[in-house]
Each structure stands twice: as structure tokens, then as C-alpha cells.
């Protein structure tokens, strides 16, 4: 009994408590650091243009309004038409990039993980080489290439470019994942009569699902937020993607802050929803793929 009482007694003045509180305060500060801009974005989006320019700022709007959202979502006005078209274009480009990235990265990573072939290591690092340079140095050469291929003003130019930039990391991420799946599992399936492809589909694929999902999220977010290539390769209003379209809230002498914030909020929604739904896979993939057993 005595020993039990001792165990539940409060640990007064122990340094562990201090650190625990320091940790909690740090976490709260980090939470505020990440959440306050989002909250401010949301609050600004429900203000009128004049209220958004007030100083000191109206923390909570005197006259909240959903006018900016109505304008963006109303296909009968030009702002709404443009915004919805840009949203759809972004969704199409990001989804297509994601699907293609997974289709290419999965077999490529599997090959790097499982097969021995001449120049394997060299090729693997060659794949990563592109990521060692800033993307912007490829801008003009890629633009000229796209023009020669007749792809300027097409979504194909963006999908190809995003794949070029997204695939190396996707392959690297997935290879780490496949390396962690014991080869004996595949061997067992092969002994039971499965072909390599069947063993891959039935054994490896389900086990690597978190890695594939992480790759998909990574590719989607990369394509969804990309600005500089979309801005350079697309010259037609009906082809623009959201990051480029959002620039339109900045004019020469003024900025439509509520419209900008409403558009930004709506732009962040698909990524937030996707991440919330799949975050456990994402975290698992990042941790599991990073450690070689």
C-alpha cells in the first residue's frame, strides 16, 4: 500500500514537470504560429474590402459577409467563372500528375529496390541529380523545349514538368519503402506458384500502400501549389491554374484582400482535406521509408 501511495503522489518540484510544461507551452506557441495566419486568412475573407483595410485591424469583422465566397462560386459573374475554371484546371493537372507519378514511380522504385543491374547505383543517383539544382534554372530551357514539342498553352506541358520534378523524390521515397519489405515474402508467394507480377500485386503493393499514398499526396501538393512553370507555360485564360489565377487579386495600385483570402482559403481546402484523410499513411511512409531494417 505504502509503495502504491508513493507511486501516485504528485511529483512536486521534479525537473521533469518543468520540462513537460515547457514542452506544452512550446507546442501551444507552435500551434498559434501555424494556426493564426490561417485564422486571419479566414477572418479577412469574411470582411468587406474597406473593413479589410482598417487599422487598427478589426479582429472580428463588424459586418461579416460571405460576399467574396459568393462572388467566387457564382458561375454567372466573370470572377466566379474564372475562379471555377482555374480550380478545375488545377484539379485536372494535379490529379493527372499524381496518377502518372504513381504509375511510373512504383515500378521504377521496385526495380531499383529489387533488381541488380549494371549502373543501378549510378542511375538511382542520376534520378536524384535534378533535385540538386533550383527549379528556376530549368525554366527557359523547358519553355523552349515545350514550344518545340508544341505543348505551350497545354496542360500537358505542366504535367510533364511536374513529373520531371516530382518523380525523383517519389522514386526515392518508394524505394526506401520496398527495401523494408522482406524479400522472403515475395519468395514465399513465388514458391506457391505466383508470378513475379502477381507476387508484386498481391504481396508488395498492399504492404507498400502507405508509401504509395505518401507519394501521391506529395505529387498532388507539388502540382497543386506550383506557380512559376504554370505562369510561364500558359498564356490563355481558359488554361490557367489557381496559383496563377490568384495573382489577379493584386492590381497595379490596389489589392482585393477579402477576395484574395477567400480564394486562398478555398485553394487550401483540397490539400487540407486530402492530408487529413491520409495523414497517418503519410507520416508512416516518411518514417518507415527512411529507416532501413
Amino acid at each position: 500500500m505504502t509503495s502504491m501511495t508513493n507511486r501516485v503522489a504528485p511529483r512536486k518540484g521534479k525537473p521533469l514537470d518543468v520540462w513537460r510544461w515547457v514542452g506544452r507551452i512550446f507546442l501551444v506557441l507552435m500551434l498559434l504560429y501555424t494556426a493564426v495566419p490561417m485564422i486571419w486568412m479566414l477572418l479577412t475573407s469574411i470582411k468587406s474590402g474597406f473593413a479589410a483595410m482598417q487599422f487598427p485591424p478589426q479582429w472580428w469583422p463588424n459586418e461579416p459577409t460571405l460576399a467574396s465566397y459568393q462572388r467566387l462560386l457564382d458561375p454567372t459573374n466573370s470572377v466566379g467563372q474564372d475562379f471555377l475554371r482555374f480550380f478545375w484546371n488545377s484539379l485536372f493537372v494535379s490529379t493527372a500528375t499524381t496518377i502518372l507519378a504513381v504509375i511510373v514511380a512504383v515500378p521504377a522504385a521496385y526495380a531499383f529496390s529489387r533488381f541488380e543491374f549494371p549502373g543501378r547505383n549510378f542511375l538511382f543517383f542520376a534520378v536524384l541529380l535534378r533535385n540538386m539544382f533550383p527549379a528556376v534554372i530549368f525554366l527557359v530551357p523547358l519553355f523552349i523545349l515545350m514550344r518545340l514539342l508544341g505543348l505551350v498553352n497545354t496542360h500537358g506541358s505542366l504535367i510533364l514538368t511536374y513529373l520531371t520534378f516530382g518523380l525523383p523524390l517519389a522514386i526515392w521515397l518508394l524505394k526506401g519503402f520496398y527495401d523494408n519489405i522482406p524479400y522472403q515474402l515475395e519468395q514465399a508467394a513465388r514458391i506457391d506458384g505466383a508470378t513475379r507480377f502477381k507476387a508484386f500485386m498481391l504481396i508488395v503493393m498492399p504492404l507498400s500502400a502507405p508509401g504509395i499514398i505518401a507519394t501521391a499526396i506529395y505529387s498532388f501538393i507539388g502540382a497543386w501549389n506550383e506557380y512559376i512553370f504554370a505562369y510561364t507555360f500558359l498564356n490563355r485564360n481558359d488554361k490557367l491554374t489557381l496559383p496563377v489565377g490568384i495573382q489577379r487579386f493584386f492590381s497595379e495600385n490596389t489589392t482585393d484582400f477579402p477576395g484574395l483570402m477567400a480564394a486562398s482559403f478555398m485553394m487550401s481546402l483540397p490539400v487540407v482535406v486530402l492530408f487529413l484523410l491520409l495523414q497517418r499513411y503519410f507520416v508512416r511512409a516518411l518514417t518507415e521509408g527512411a529507416v532501413k531494417h
Binding site: S48, F50, Q54, N62, E63, R236, S251, N253, T254
Partner: protein, 494 residues
């Protein structure tokens, strides 16, 4: 002062002299449609609404209305933040053009103010430019000198060179040849908040007369009310910065070259002259000594000053007449207590002439945009539909649309636009318009040389930033800037 090598000086001098001589000889040939020598707000009022124009009939003489063709066109567009009225006029323009020329397939692309030049430069590197482009006034000479543009003068689309401001035509001229037509021209004005002035103990109805007064007023406003006095802008690579600093530079008698003189030669660098240093010192005094301007001025552009001004946190700034329209739009969309506040902000807006320097010199940047046709080899597809291009340019640069497309923030490039009924309507509805049009004769065009964008967007802001951050003294910053200009002018880089 820094001298540029003799050969360059002689060449530029010869070019400028020839240009001025040609402009003068043209002026002597025929009486201009609008007498700019009589320019005053009364004169502008007296000619407004005195003439009707038929755009379709005028342009049919250039390109038949049944012409079948295709045209690609890039321009600085109007977007969500711009006044509703202006957005409507842009929409109407393209609708009317399509209706008038139903067989021309027009593919227009609106780009934002900050994006247009960079995107255009990249497209040119890939030979994927549009057939026609409308650029800010700084761009024409740069791209003409690099050989991207075709020769184009007002006469090619049915108008006369005298229909446009001589200063605006200068911005389209390179080595005595014309490469574009002005679409709109504007000069800014000085705006202040009467209530802030009153509370700071200043006369609420009187703008500061000189730049020294601006420094003094800015300090007084800051010391009495704890808010920013003057809306200094010193952001790098933003057109807003030279548009606001150069009036001050010229007012004090300085300049980048001799661009503020009647017959500029651009032969001598003046950024390190005593007068230029005095202008830079005024900015230093406001930012460093008095701390009477927004602390964020080094990264601010005009769009950052506007909210401060409208919220009563900034006393004075240089801006477009469009600020009044923007304010009216904001008021329309406000409700409840915000509506009242917006009305108060409008009631307190005052417009006046840009202050003078110590010697009474008043100057402002002669701004605007020009429209150009590209050479086929730089166009996507390698072809330019000349007739379609001229139809669009005739439409935009005519008296009617050059006025309507500049309704809220600028003025018609075609001087005949001042005679239209829409100008009369503007004068009746846009408060303070007569103030900003009164500034037009004080307009000084940026130097008509290809190096101007680099000088204005990088060297001038750099000079300000070096002085205001304390990286250099005022003297050193001015000398450093002069050295950079010299390097650029002799073919070097920054």
C-alpha cells in the same frame, strides 16, 4: 556628376536632337488637334464633349470590317481589385471589337502589372510572343532596341502623330524610328487626408507647397499623431518606386541624366549631383532621422500605402486619380458602421499638385502605356496578321476607347479623347480629375533609352535602400548609383 564616354554621348545626343527636331518639324506642319500649350483644367473643361467620333468607321479605313484573320494580344489587364467601372469598360471593349470585326479571331491574355514584363521577356526567348502587346511606357524602347518590335506609328492606323503627347511619342521612339502608339498617359497627383492635417495642426485645405514642406509636414503629423506622415515607397523592382521618387528628384533639380530638361541628351549622369543628393537626403530625413514614414517603406509599393491612407494612418502620398474610384467602390460594398467610415475617408480625401523643389521646379513622371506589333520571328507560329493587328490598335488608340479604357486611372493617349462626351462625363463624376490632368504639362518622360528599366527598377531603388538602411551614407549611395548607371550605359552590368 559622372561623364559617360564621348562616343556614347555624341550618339545619344545626335539621336535625341534628331528626334526633337523631327517632333518639332511635325508640329510645325499642322496645327495639333488639342493645343497643349494652352493646357489648364479650364482648357480641358472647355474642349470636353465638343466632338463625336465613329470608331468603327475610322478603323474600317484601316482594316475592312469584314476582314477575316487571327490575332494574339497580351496586355496589362484589369482585375478583381480594380474599379468596377474600369473592368466593365474592358469587357465592353473586347465585346465591341468582336462585334465590329466578327471575323477576327482574337485571343487576348490579360496579365498583372508585376508579371507582364517578365513573362513577355521569357516568351521572347522562346520565340513565343503574342502578335500585339501593350506594355508600360518603360518597355517600348527596351524591346525596340533589342529588335523585337516592328515599326509602328499613328499614321499606320489612321491617326496622326500630333494626336498624341510628344512626350508619349518619345517613349516609342528609338534611333528616330517609331515602334508603338500610346494608349493612355497619366501624371499622378498629391493626395492628403484633410482630417489628419487638421488634427496635426496643419491647414486641412492646403497641400505642402515644396518637398521641404513634405518633410516638415510628415514629421509634424508623426510627432503629433503617432502615425506616418508621407507614404514613401522604396521597394526594389517595382514600378511604383521611380514613379514616386523621381518627382522629388526632379523637383530638387536633380535627375538620372538631364531627362527633366527641355532637350535631354542623356549624356551626363546626374544621380550624384548636389541636387540629387539633396532629394535623397529628404527621403533619408523622413525615414531615418524623423521616422515619419511607414517603417515598411523599403518593401512597400503603392498598394501597401493605400490601406494605411484609407484607414487614416497615413497623411500624404503620391497617387493616381484612380484612388478616388477605388474608394467609391469600397464604399459601395461596405455596410453598417463600415459604410460610415468609408464615407468619412472619402470626405477627407484631398488632391493637389505635386510639390515643387526649393527653386519652384515642379515635375511628375509622364506615365502610361504603349501598344506594339512584334516581328513575326518572335511570335508563336512565326506569323503576324498585320491587318488584324492594326484593326485592334486602331480601335484601342482611337479617341473613344483610349478614353474609356483609361476612364478611372489615367487619361486618353489620343488627345482627341479629351474632346469626347465621355471626358465631359468623367469631369463631372470623377472628383479631382482636373487636378491630375493639370499635372500633365509637368510630366517628364523617363529617359528614352533601352537601359531605363534597369536603371529605374533596380539602380534607383537600390540607391534609396542603401541610404535608408544605413548601408551607405547619402553621399555614398548617390555616388554608387551613378557608378552603376555608368556601368550599364557603357555595356556593363550591375
Amino acid at each position: 556628376m559622372t561623364r559617360i564616354p564621348l562616343a556614347g554621348t555624341v550618339l545619344r545626343g545626335a539621336v535625341s536632337t534628331a528626334l526633337i527636331a523631327s517632333l518639332m518639324s511635325v508640329s510645325a506642319r499642322a496645327a495639333p488637334p488639342v493645343d497643349v500649350s494652352k493646357w489648364s483644367s479650364e482648357y480641358v473643361r472647355s474642349i470636353a464633349g465638343t466632338k463625336d467620333f465613329d470608331t468603327a468607321a475610322d478603323c474600317a479605313k484601316v482594316t475592312p470590317l469584314d476582314y477575316k484573320g487571327r490575332l494574339t494580344f497580351w496586355y496589362q489587364g484589369v482585375f478583381e481589385g480594380d474599379p468596377d467601372l474600369l473592368r466593365q469598360y474592358y469587357k465592353d471593349f473586347f465585346a465591341t471589337f468582336r462585334k465590329t470585326y466578327p471575323n477576327i479571331q482574337l485571343e487576348e491574355q490579360a496579365l498583372t502589372y508585376n508579371d507582364l514584363l517578365d513573362k513577355f521577356r521569357t516568351a521572347l526567348l522562346g520565340n513565343a510572343g503574342p502578335m500585339v502587346v501593350r506594355l508600360q511606357i518603360l518597355g517600348g524602347v527596351e524591346f525596340a532596341s533589342k529588335g523585337y518590335l516592328q515599326e509602328l506609328k499613328p499614321e499606320d492606323v489612321g491617326y496622326s502623330t500630333e494626336d498624341f503627347w510628344p512626350g508619349a511619342m518619345k517613349s516609342d521612339t528609338w534611333k528616330s524610328k517609331t515602334y508603338g502608339i500610346p494608349t493612355n498617359n497619366e501624371t499622378m497627383a498629391f493626395i492628403w487626408n484633410a482630417d489628419v492635417f487638421k488634427r496635426a495642426g496643419l491647414d486641412p485645405e492646403k497641400a505642402p507647397a515644396t518637398w521641404d514642406d513634405v518633410v516638415k509636414y510628415s514629421k509634424q503629423i508623426h510627432d503629433k499623431l503617432g502615425i506616418s506622415g508621407y507614404g514613401l515607397v522604396a521597394r526594389k523592382n517595382a514600378g511604383n518606386t521611380p514613379y514616386r521618387f523621381l518627382p522629388q528628384l526632379w523637383g530638387y533639380g536633380g535627375g538620372v541624366f538631364d531627362e527633366a530638361t527641355q532637350h535631354p541628351t542623356y549624356g551626363q549622369i546626374e544621380l550624384n549631383s548636389a541636387a540629387s543628393k539633396q532629394a535623397l537626403q529628404a527621403s533619408y530625413d523622413m525615414y531615418v532621422r524623423d521616422k515619419s514614414v511607414p517603417v515598411s517603406a523599403l518593401t512597400n509599393q503603392q498598394a501597401d500605402n493605400q490601406p494605411l491612407f484609407l484607414a487614416g494612418q497615413l497623411g500624404m502620398m503620391i497617387s493616381h486619380p484612380s484612388d478616388y474610384d477605388v474608394m467609391q467602390d469600397l464604399k459601395k460594398k461596405a455596410t453598417g458602421s463600415d459604410l460610415l467610415k468609408a464615407q468619412t475617408a472619402i470626405d477627407n480625401m484631398r488632391y493637389g499638385l505635386i510639390p515643387t523643389g526649393p527653386d519652384g521646379k515642379r515635375a511628375v513622371v509622364f506615365g502610361g502605356s504603349n501598344i506594339h506589333i512584334l516581328k513575326p520571328e518572335y511570335v508563336d507560329g512565326g506569323k503576324v496578321d498585320q491587318a488584324a493587328a492594326k484593326a485592334l490598335i486602331c480601335f484601342w488608340t482611337g479617341p473613344e476607347w483610349s478614353l474609356k479604357m483609361a476612364y478611372a486611372g489615367s487619361n486618353p493617349g489620343n488627345l482627341n479623347g479629351f474632346k469626347t462626351k465621355w471626358m465631359k462625363e468623367r469631369l463631372e463624376t470623377t472628383k479631382f480629375l482636373d487636378v491630375s490632368t493639370s499635372m500633365l504639362p509637368y510630366g517628364v518622360p523617363f529617359p528614352a533609352i533601352p537601359e531605363t528599366p534597369e536603371i529605374m527598377n533596380i539602380v534607383v531603388p537600390d540607391m534609396l535602400q542603401n541610404a535608408l538602411t544605413g548601408t551607405m551614407t547619402v553621399n555614398q549611395a548617390a555616388e554608387d548609383a551613378a557608378k552603376k548607371v555608368k556601368s550599364i550605359m557603357t555595356g556593363g552590368s550591375l
